[in-house]
Structures are given as C-alpha cells and as structure tokens.
Symmetry: C3
Subunit: 140 residues, 3 copies
C-alpha cells in the first residue's frame, strides 16, 4: 500500500505543522476512502493534531508541557537519572510519552476528514536543531 | 472501505460512552477480521478507552484532568494567552493533547477485541453543550 | 487480515519490552508493506514506544508518572473515589489515559519502520503480578 517518508527540520522546541504535506500525499494517491497513519521515528519528539487557527494555542501548549515536564536542572526534576544529552533530554522523552508517536486519520472522498480547525503537527521537544523523519502510510 | 460518521451531543465536561454505536457499525459491516479506527474531528474533546464498570472511574478521571489542567482563571494558569472562548477553552486543548484524537481497535470474528472492562468514550472538555462529530473507519 | 495475540506476564509497575515479539509476527507474515497495530485489552496498563538504549529512561519515565499520578493514599489524591482494589488502582487508570491503548507502526520492506532507538513497551501500572493480553493486527 502507498507509503512515503517526510523529513522535518526543527530549530528548537515547538509545533511544526505539516498538514499540507500529508494532504498532498493523500491527493496524489487518489484513494477515495482509506486511512492515513502518520508515524514519527523518534523518542524525543511526537505528533499532535491541534487547533491551527490561533497561534497562541501552540504557544500555550508548549508552555504547558514545559511546566509539567520542566528541564532536568529544575529542582523539581532532581530525581531524573538519564541526563546524557543535557537538561532537555529526559523531559523530551516524557513529553513524547504524554502525547503520541502515531496518529490515524480516515480519508473520505480523497481527502483527510480533519475538522475545520485541525492541523497536524510535529511537536519538537529538543532545544537544538534536528532532522525528524516521519512515515506516512495509506491503508484501504 | 466501510466508513461512517457518528454525532454525539454533549452537555458539559465528562465521558460519553459510545461502545454500542461502534459495535453496531462493526456488526453491520460483517467483516470477519479488520481494524476499526475512531477519529474525532475536534480539538477540544478527545477519545479514551477506559473502564466501563464503576462510574466512579469516569468521575475520578474527569477530576484528575481538571486538576492537572485547571480553568484559565486559576492562578496557576496565569501564563495562558489563548482565552478567546472563556476559561475552559485552552485547558480543553491541553486535555485533548494529553489524550487522543484517534484510537484503533482490531476486529476478530466480527467483533471488536475490547477487554471485558473496556468502553469507548468521547471525553468532552468544554462546559457548554456541543455536537461532536466522529468518523469510524473499518480497514481490512 | 493477519492477527495474533500476545500475553505478557508482569510483576509490578514498569516497562516490559516486546519489540522482538512484534518483529517476529511481522516477519512471519512476510507482508512487504503494511501497518501493524498493537492493542492492549486492559485499562490499568498501556503502550509506549520509547528509547530502548539507556535503561535509565525507563526508570525515569516510571518515576515521572508515579509523581504526576501518585498512589491514592497520597494526600494530594484525597479526592479519588474509586479505591476498590487498593491505592494503585485509580492511578493506574489515570496513567493509562495519559498514554495509549493502541499504537500503529507502518511496515516497509517486511519490517516495522521503527527508529534506531525505538522499542515497543507494555507499561504496567499495577503493583501485583498480572497477565496482560495484547492483540497484534497487520493491515495492508
């Protein structure tokens, strides 16, 4: 079945929208009905389907997750052991666990059935730039 | 492949079970083995597969999420910027991000393989009544 | 379509890797491209795709979730009503709601497209030993 990969270059924590890339893949496959699954091949970033109207939503989501999983040098995170790659390392795994590595979206009439305000985002949890690999799979 | 939509009318925050609606769709399609995916077309409600035996579980889940993501007029949420639709607006997006917009359940012998105590719920995060649209897709 | 079940015996809270079991199932089916979905038939354990290199990551994840959802006899959890099976009962449902009961992984060239450091885990949230049932489904 149709499958493709997608690379997203990130530059620090935050949400990176790729709705249009996913829509293009679905359009090109011209499958009338099906199921699109997006999978991210990493453990320190994740996927989110969220509001794409007001950018403040993305800003607030990022702020919220940074509060419930602050950097490892925050006194409340004293108990963390895994600190190999700096203070944003283990909180990145935590934020990934709290969100998703795969999301599935039905396709109807050749298009994803996203709601009016839904966008698909890569949620980057690391501070430094990364190249993130996603796999898109279209099932019947 | 078979697909249908489902509308759930909500009246405030909480869990709304629709296991029987999903089971009926699967039964009617008479597909022996397959995969049911449920997708919710909104960003301020979400999906949860949870215990359907003791209603206190649903009550406690609602209470828990309201504590980790309290209304925007709670002093601990001072930092939120997106407040367009009231104090339950941004916490609704947060609770949605912490749970799921899609869940997939294998079908075996013509029925979902849910465990004995598993029910499928729409988790409404807004206070006012809403009409919520879900899409159910059955893959081979 | 191909489907199998998998039983994992757990002995207390923590992460139990089953990447190799899933890989074997996919290998045996010899499907070149497809989508593997893993589903857990319980509401007090869940699924996680996480780093499988440094065991400290698993230890820290377990510690984190125990802090955001401590046992019901912790004063901060006073408000919980569902306490039928002990202080680890309701927090187990909460941790399950915060993670996933289903994950989907594309298969390419006969293998799951997991990233280098990704392992698939059952996340047990109960203290006592349990037999956990998972269903693995391979879609085209």
């Amino acid at each position: 079945m149709p499958q493709t990969s997608l690379t997203i270059e990130t530059s620090g924590q935050g949400l990176y929208e790729f709705t249009e890339d996913a829509a293009r893949f679905v359009r090109n496959e011209a499958m009338n009905e099906g199921l699109l699954t997006v999978f991210v091949r990493h453990t320190s970033c994740s996927l989110l389907i969220q509001e794409n109207a007001d950018p403040d939503v993305q800003r607030d989501l990022k702020a919220y997750f940074s509060r419930i999983a602050p950097p490892a040098n925050d006194p409340s995170m004293d108990y963390l052991v895994h600190r190999l790659e700096g203070p944003d390392d283990m909180p990145a795994h935590i934020k990934s666990a709290l969100t998703q590595v795969s999301v599935s979206i039905p396709v109807f009439d050749g298009r994803m059935v996203l709601g009016t305000w839904q966008g698909i985002y890569l949620f980057e949890h690391r501070d430094r730039p990364h190249r993130r690999e996603l796999v898109l799979h279209l099932s019947p």
